[in-house]
Amino acid sequence: MAELKLINLQKKFGDVIAVDNVNVTVKDGEFITFLGPSGCGKTTTLRMIAGFIKSTKGSITIDDKVISSYEEGVFLPPDKRDMGMVFQTYAVWPHMNTFNNVAYPLKFKKYSRNEIEERVTDTLSLVKLDGFEDRFPHEMSGGQQQRVALARALIMEPSVLLLDEPLSNLDAKLRESMRYEIVELQKRLKFTVVYVTHDQIEAMSMSDRIIVMDKGIVQQIDSPQNVYQKPSNKFVADFIGMANFIPCEIVNRADDMVRVQIQDGTGKIFLRVPVITEKDYSKNVTVVIRPEDIDVLPLTDQEGTSGILIRQTYIGDRNDCAVQFGDIILRVHTQNRHSFKIGEEVSIVLNNPILLDT
């Protein structure tokens, strides 16, 4: 229903740059998530899209119509942007019942009473709150209030739906079921969604693309698969999933592969790492290997790497271990039920290495 573009978007508070140079085109019907730690600028960016904050540089367009531009002096206030928003605290109005909360946006669209009633009933059905019309917020649970907030945003049939950490105040189980419901609704009604969260599971499970942010700067914009399997830098590699960072030196390079030497003090271990981009790497690089991509086996004579098992914690669905060779300590998640002894020498197999510039 709408293509949203953020062009060179920046927000400065005094001397502090909260959001710097955000460029992204959100396709019509796409579910895109701003993901990052607290203070990374994701909520500020969302509030700029909504119109609660004016940018200090750059512009925002919907279907190529400018709704905000610092350079051109254009700014459409929030009540004119035709966007729906669900707030972290739900912001359901305590002095109105569910019906009036959900019907409120329709007040500004000149519908007849019957139409309003019909739409409210339909929307409440959508969010599975049939029959809740007369209830007041203080008579409802957090999850129910959240659905009221969602209904209130959806009833506008907005071109873009904005969600600001909507699930963070819910308990874990409810969070999970709401995740599915939101995605299902979106796929059915086909609206564009901009979602903000610090929870990587939410981001990974719901989004078509993820925008990873740190300290106001966009780190990577990619699909969940790519963000996980091909992180563009250390921050992304570490923020999503867990990562072992292994310092290496490039020994030689072919078109699609490099051979690196692990700097573990011994210099005896080499890895072959696929190269994703065409860029030139400096000699010193970092290789990322995720804990679940390392196999730990009883010591064999076969060629490969060996190390000392220095820690082992049985979690149930996995063994959380630490293996050391040379100066390097690797975090490992293995599925095997074999119990090693602390201090035992083991064989390790390193799979799926990812190459990063240091």
Partner: protein
């Protein structure tokens, strides 16, 4: 996709006009505040440095070389110091008993022990004169049973002032320390108990030191209010020619025979303000020392201390307190108002409502005072609410710069002793206003303006708090749903702060209704207020009528309080 442009033009304009309207109104209000608050302050300061129509420091020299000044200084200090000490000790003890022990009848204590706070202090003083004056009920009773003419104790003078002040100020300490005491992290005391400290030891070594900021803060608050108080020293000090700074300033202003009397009064006022400012700074400093984070985030209630056999002592103690602060004064006023004439014994035939009918029908100034006080209080409360809405909106929602200045300006007429405010008003407005060439001096308008300036802070505080409670996201949600500034304010903010607006009105109305200090200096014939009439009747010795009017006022004040509680669903009111 986008809403039709033509239909929203009206709303656009309304929003823009509203925003500019508020800024405009804010500007006008700022100027108004400068005229009504800053200008009189400036005049006061200036006048203190003028003698015989020239710039001079003679006023100060004369004051500081006069013995009376030092006596009055000393009296003020003694009375305020011991009063604050006593009231704080009493208030904290009550708070501790109610918050931390298992004393029975808590609800009863809570409702009755707060009553002294809503009784106008000078009426409390008058009630005690009926009890412990030279022919007061207690003294006469004492003389009867001891068969002498020696009274038990005549309340006039220093001791009496301290006594009455303590009885009517302890609620401040009680209210300030009750919260922290109830919410204190129990682990702090439990750690003490586990280490071997008993109840009293824990109290002494752990609880009290941790409560020091609140206790110290409330002591200073009470000290400040006592330094500024006029009604109690007037009623109880004058008969024995015992003066404090506030009453001395009053006398100086009325002493037309003395050269430069207004200027000297101004100088003395400056000294009083100076003392008040120092105390206020101390108070801010002490309450700011919240480096003791004693309130735990979790809502675990502190364990109640079992009083066991001391329970009876505690109940008797609080019971006596209720007797002294509420029961005795009310009974004495009631009794006095129902007696046909002073001195008659209490037999049924001597009781009547004649005093009530006389003050209402036979004393014109009482009728005028009732009318004036209601008009003044109601009018200023209404204006205050309007001003507060705009001021609070500017401060909390629009977050304009310079709120510190605005807030200081609003607070000033309340923080400064009433007698000083009255003097400043006289000095500023005795001359005709420019342009209109009318003097508001000796009219009801000068009282109205004084009331508005003095109680504005109540309105601003309660409405600011209300605005702050309406979380920003509630308005954001309205905005994104399509509501402009006007609609968002009308549909979301107003409904949520409605009860606070009423509360703000009542909080400004109540003190204005029974106010004494300002009107004592600003009234003239025809512009009397309830306070001045009660005081006047008391001075004239018309005891029965004084008591009757006082009783009516008391009933009304308690009623107002109940209404405030009801309207704000218990959130405000005492």
């Amino acid at each position: 996709m986008f809403t039709l442009q033509s239909k929203t033009n009206f709303r656009d304009n309304a929003n823009t006009y509203l925003k500019w309207g508020i800024y405009g109104a804010g500007g006008i209000i700022f100027i108004l505040l400068i005229v009504v608050i800053l200008y009189p302050s400036y005049t006061l300061v200036k006048t203190s440095f003028y003698a015989d129509d020239q710039l001079s420091i003679n006023n100060y020299i004369e004051l500081l070389s006069n013995q009376t000044t030092y006596i009055v200084f000393r009296n003020t200090f003694i009375v305020s110091f011991w009063g604050a000490l006593g009231a704080t000790a009493l208030g904290v003890t009550i708070a501790w008993l109610l918050a931390r022990t298992d004393i029975p009848f808590k609800k009863f204590w809570r409702t009755t022990l707060i009553i002294p706070y809503i009784i106008p202090p000078f009426i409390g003083a008058i009630a005690w004169v009926y009890l412990l004056g030279p022919v007061g009920y207690i003294n006469k009773f004492w003389m009867a049973i001891t068969n002498t003419f020696d009274p038990l104790w005549v309340i006039y003078g220093q001791g009496g002032i301290i006594f009455v002040m303590i009885l009517y100020s302890y609620p401040i300490a009680y209210m300030v320390t009750l919260g922290p005491l109830s919410q204190m992290n129990p682990a702090l005391e439990e750690a003490g108990q586990i280490s071997g400290a008993g109840t009293l030891r824990t109290l002494r070594d752990i609880t009290l030191p941790l409560m020091l900021p609140s206790i110290g803060g409330s002591a200073l608050l009470i000290f400040m209010s006592m330094m500024a108080n006029f009604g109690i020293p007037a009623v109880i000090g004058f008969p024995k020619r015992y003066f404090v700074m506030s009453t001395q300033i009053f006398l100086t202003i009325l002493n037309f025979d003395r050269a430069n009397n207004l200027q000297i009064a101004a100088a003395l006022s400056m000294l009083l303000v100076f003392l008040a400012l120092i105390t206020m700074q101390l108070q801010q400093w002490i309450q700011g020392k919240k480096s003791y984070a004693i309130i735990s985030g979790k809502s675990s209630q502190p364990q109640l201390v079992p009083l066991r056999n001391k329970k009876y002592i505690a109940v008797v103690f609080l019971g006596l307190l209720v007797l002294f602060t509420v029961v005795l004064p009310v009974i004495s006023i009631l009794a006095t108002s129902l007696l046909r004439a002073l001195g008659l014994p209490f037999t049924l035939e001597n009781l009547s409502f004649v005093n009530f009918s006389r003050i209402i029908y036979e004393v014109p100034k009482v009728q005028r005072a009732i009318r004036n006080s209601f008009l003044l209080a109601g009018g200023s409360a209404t204006v205050i609410v309007f001003l507060s809405l705009i001021i609070s909106y500017l401060i909390v929602k629009l977050k304009v710069k310079g709120t510190v200045v605005l807030e200081a300006l609003v607070l000033l007429p309340y923080a400064v002793p009433g007698i000083v405010v009255a003097l400043a008003m006289i000095l500023a407005f005795v001359k005709p206003l420019p342009l209109v060439n009318i003097s508001i001096y000796n009219t009801i308008w000068i009282i109205a303006i004084a009331y508005m300036a003095r109680f504005l802070t109540f309105g601003v505080r309660s409405i600011s708090a209300a605005f702050e409670q309406v979380h920003e996201s509630l308005e954001d949600a309205a905005r994104i749903s399509g509501a402009g500034l006007v609609a968002s304010f009308k549909d979301i903010v107003m409904p949520l702060i409605r009860s606070n607006i009423f509360a703000g009105w009542f909080l400004s109305f109540s003190p204005a209704l029974t106010e004494l200090t300002l009107s004592m200096l600003l009234f003239s014939v025809g512009n009397e207020t309830l306070g001045t009439v009660v005081y006047g009747l008391h001075q004239e010795g018309k005891v029965g009528m004084t008591a009757a009017l006082s009783l009516i006022i008391l009933v009304f004040v308690v009623l107002l309080n109940r209404i405030t509680i009801r309207i704000t669903q218990g959130k405000m009111g005492f």
